[in-house]
Symmetry: C2
Subunit: 308 residues, 2 copies
């Protein structure tokens, strides 16, 4: 088994730019990814919830992954989302990511059927792991019950970790519930299982309890200050730094998150096409955007180097 | 615009057989579809919730559709489910269905993001219709909030019907709420919009209020008696016939529906491989299956011609 060090720090679930025809735009995508990596992100969780990943086909995602690597981004910094409702789709994109050398994959449970038993989810993840059949696979479970409606229970993690140690590598907890993140940390952080907070609001607490970082929407626009909390979490400044990134998060999340992130990138990057979202999402209205940008500017928010 | 008569009656969301390797099995699928059509179904809503459609890739579904037509089933009897989270997936399978000559398509809303505005859903269905760009398209909306968690509101139907008359052809209401079905019937049944109940429990009520039939899970195993309610709904026997199919439904739905349907087909068709489901679903346990089959037999249930 490979012993390459695991990814940690601040990962951004990269928003996906779409053109006027709503097709994914590789050029803008690669540029934004490179800006993120030079601005504080240690990794890129492309194809996450905030990437509108489920609004794209497997083929569209595979082409963006290829473009990103061809564009010079190191696969070792990538943790693509590869979980779909269809077993065969998840296998196809996971295999592609592993073969490309990605650090890991972040996998949603199949999310169409609700109330499925843990046994069914165990079989699902097992099938993916067995079919990919590659010791290089590092699978991070994606717990986001407010959206997926299908939770990853502690009992399921325990069972998967026992069956696939080394392969089952961690979790992103987007429950929004610190008690749940803490329960995951208490149960598994000492078992080679890397817990990432799903929001920077919980970054400092996560690090203090043995977690490895955060994978956060707002990483798309505020990577530097979030990374500063990660780098300086043991310092006397940590609580003050955490308060700063939490305040920024709270401004952004007053609006629908994905449209808000794209409006911010469009504004601070002087690139209006960034506002486009795929249906069923809708871009921000003019007034919502003005309120958002106004409040961010008043707070001292900036995206250095973006508009260059 | 084509004036071919619209499909009506009893449609079965056909369960999908999987082999030991969990691959879809075209042979068993075509045989079951033909049994359904000779046993009372007027149409087949392949690739529905009960078909584990979202557990299959677009390519797997396209191949099953091809096999079905090559196997001699008339496309005019087919209403495949073609709604996916990804716009491009929905367009691809819908286009394929229209080009194959299918009677219509049954389209889920994109179901990953929750709480999306009607404006986003309107844009989604509009994009699909415009990209398919074929006057032959008959689009039936699929309202199943207990599973999709994304409802199709009356306001959305109104807007789509006004923009795409003739193309937006109807709805399957799987809300499980007769008041909602009745509201759809009252609002749209006289506007060339065909309302199908999502369960035969509501078949007679639906027909009495101007609806066109039902698209029901249990159609997979009990098509004859359900079709008898459809054919004789104006007769003096209608209420008695309805009570009979409702009683059978209530036996089946004591167990998880898809696994139960497959266990019934496996048992009465003497074909154990039919029990296979794709993860995250799990087949029935032995005791659950014995209880189900025992209760069905005691009620006089049969599947004539299945094991032939």
């Amino acid at each position: 088994m490979a012993t390459r060090p695991r990814i940690e720090g601040v990962l951004s679930p990269v928003v996906t730019p779409f053109g006027k025809d709503l097709a994914p735009e590789a050029g803008r995508f690669v540029r934004h990814c490179k800006w993120l990596l030079k601005s504080g992100c240690s990794g890129l969780a492309i194809f996450g919830t905030n990437s509108e990943a489920n609004s794209m086909s497997v083929d569209e995602k595979a082409k963006l992954l290829d473009a990103l690597i061809a564009g010079g981004v190191a696969p070792a910094q990538l943790m693509p989302g590869t979980g779909h409702c269809a077993l065969t789709d998840s296998v196809a994109l996971t295999k592609r990511a592993v073969e490309a050398g990605c650090a890991g994959v972040l996998m949603l449970p199949p999310f169409y059927y609700k109330g499925v038993p843990d046994e069914g989810l165990f079989r699902y993840f097992s099938e993916v792991i067995e079919r990919v059949g590659d010791e290089r696979l590092r699978l991070y479970l994606y717990h986001i019950p407010p959206v997926s409606q299908v939770p990853i229970s502690l009992a399921l993690i325990d069972r998967l970790l026992a069956r696939y140690p080394g392969i089952v590598a961690g979790v992103k907890d987007s429950s929004g519930d610190w008690n749940n993140t803490k329960a995951m940390l208490d149960a598994f952080a000492r078992s080679g299982f890397d817990v990432f907070a799903g929001s920077e609001v919980f970054l400092l607490d996560t690090l203090r309890h043995g977690g490895k970082g955060c994978i956060t929407a707002t990483g798309n626009v505020n990577p530097g200050p979030i990374d500063e909390v990660f780098r300086r979490w043991r310092s006397a400044e940590a609580d003050r730094l955490q308060a700063g990134i939490t305040a920024t998060r709270k401004i952004v999340q007053k609006q629908p998150m994905i449209a808000a992130l794209k409006a911010i990138i469009a504004h601070f990057g002087n690139d209006p096409q960034w506002r486009a979202v795929r249906p069923p999402l809708v871009e921000l209205g003019r007034e919502e955007e003005q309120a958002l940008i106004g409040e961010l500017k008043a707070s001292g928010f900036a995206m250095p180097g973006l508009a260059g």
